[in-house]
């Protein structure tokens, strides 16, 4: 029997996609690097300079002073969002995994429903709901809990990033729950039953059997979430404040600044974001590889 009808080189079929991606993506990285060195920023500079890097990392000047506090703020928002989403997803998934049959499919569908609301519009919904004159504040006023909009706590556009975290947690819990549920449903119940027969309590089974089973997938998924939260622009742009700002907001602001000298600094900040996201992605990939080798 022939195993393969196709004897042509695999690269012929890969060529169009590789060409499009490597040209566009490769060029964007090259031109980005060039700009971070002060080339092609429209300032007429013709030699490589590390000034933008110095400005950003030195902690002085407008770029540097805001860079370190933005980095800290970004790390805080991304870490808090990821941890809360992971804990929430684990809890919901374990609880849902006991349900079988038709409800199983409806759960999957319901969890997929969050895909209908892109981050951009989810952030707007939160803004309208949680702001000081939003729907929640109106309900609080109707119940007599507050008198004026100013009495309502600042939950969005706040300085500690609560609004941004709230947005990501509500969007990422369904995302991670689906990942954990997929693992729980693909695994046989045998281990759990054996442990029960041997007298393991409900908590022991959860701690020694269920959680170790789902942990690799949950970790990989959480790192995807971290990378996304750390590098996304829309949500902090809508739900954030003027200071402190998350790194992507800062990078774009510098890049689009009418002062062409700050373009290079914007580019440097965006490379810092890229570098951190890349490191996280590599860790996530290694985790997944080990997982499949087992």
């Amino acid at each position: 029997m022939f195993k393969r009808m196709d004897f042509s080189s695999p690269w012929i079929k890969l060529a169009p996609a590789i060409l499009v991606i490597s040209l566009l993506f490769g060029a964007s990285i090259l031109f980005g690097l060039a700009q971070s060195f002060g080339l092609m920023t429209g300032t007429g500079q013709e030699s490589i300079s590390f000034e933008a890097y110095r400005n950003v990392f030195s902690g002085q000047g407008p770029a540097g002073r805001e860079f370190w506090s933005s980095l800290g703020f970004s790390l805080w928002v991304a870490t808090a969002s990821t941890l809360l989403s992971a804990i929430g997803a684990l809890t919901i998934a374990i609880w849902l995994s006991n349900r079988k049959g038709k409800s199983q499919q409806t759960d999957t569908l319901a969890l997929n429903w969050n895909l209908a609301f892109p981050h951009l519009v989810w952030a707007i919904a939160l803004l309208l709901f949680f702001s000081q004159s939003g729907l929640l504040a109106r309900f609080a006023a109707t119940l007599g809990l507050i008198q004026m909009p100013a009495d309502f706590p600042i939950l969005v556009k706040d300085r500690s990033g609560i609004g941004i975290i709230l947005d990501y947690v509500t969007k990422e819990i369904p995302f991670l729950t689906l990942i954990v549920l997929a693992v729980l449903r693909s695994q046989a119940e045998n281990l759990d039953i054996v442990a029960e027969n041997l007298g393991a309590s409900r908590w022991q089974r959860l701690w020694y059997i269920t959680i170790p089973q789902v942990l690799p997938a949950l970790m990989a998924g959480s790192l995807i979430v971290f990378g996304f939260v750390f590098s996304a622009y829309e949500v902090p742009a809508i739900l954030g404040v003027r200071y402190p700002r998350m790194l992507p907001v800062l990078a774009l602001d510098f890049f689009l600044n009418p002062d062409l000298n700050s373009r290079a600094e914007g580019m440097v900040i965006s490379f810092v974001i890229t570098l951190i996201v890349m490191i996280v992605a590599i860790i996530s990939l290694r985790g997944e590889k080990e997982d499949t080798q087992e």
Partner: protein
Amino acid sequence: MKNQSAVIFRIFLYGILIAPLVLFMLYAFSERWFFPAPFPTAWTTNIVTRMLNDPRTTSGLFISIGIAMLVSFLSLLIGFPAARTLGSRVFRGRQIAWLIFFLPTVVPPLAVGMGLNILFLRLGWSGTLFGVILAHLVPTLPYTIFTLSGVFSRYDENYEHQALVLGSSRLRIFFTVTLRLVFPGLIVAGLFAFLISWSQYLLTLLIGGGKILTLPMLLFSAVSGGNPTSIAALSLLFVAPPVIIIAASARFLVQHGNTIREQY
């Protein structure tokens, strides 16, 4: 006891599912809604009608739909042969090809857009639909390839061999065997390429340079304008396609089985 908590959870879950839509409708159709009132005291359809008659909104809607449709079509067209090769064949350099497609999924659109901004400016592609569509391909094409290659790694080529032995032409095999078998995966990949392009703000901003006004661009300027009624009306228009798409493709989403790993 257990049943009761499940029912409560389900009510809560379904509540969250429709809450954004209800919220947008409350604001979009409100005429008078002073602070302590929990619901609008007077209703109107004027804002929504005015928005739908505004040439800026209608052209934004058509540009968004046009770009997203072309981007998802091109992603499937270019991605299909690549995904099939990547998913079903073993060859030297496979990991390198995989890496080339993987990198753009990691590097944020922010960095890609900022790099392409100056290049497209020099090529004269910035501010054009062509440039924006090309830029949107950077996030959508790898996503399409990975979704479809997952489908092809579970795909049984023997069905094609059987049809070939029975005397079918290659073209007929492609349309009656291959496409039929991978259809759910194809739908999911295409729809998500559409959604990624549909909600793209950064790349459109950095390449379109304010000349290509898609709905996300209008939405952002409405948010900075700060009028809740017009923000909500525009949001309703913006979520209508995703909501319809997800509702209509629910069957395929379950069939497809893979969790959607892309964020948009």
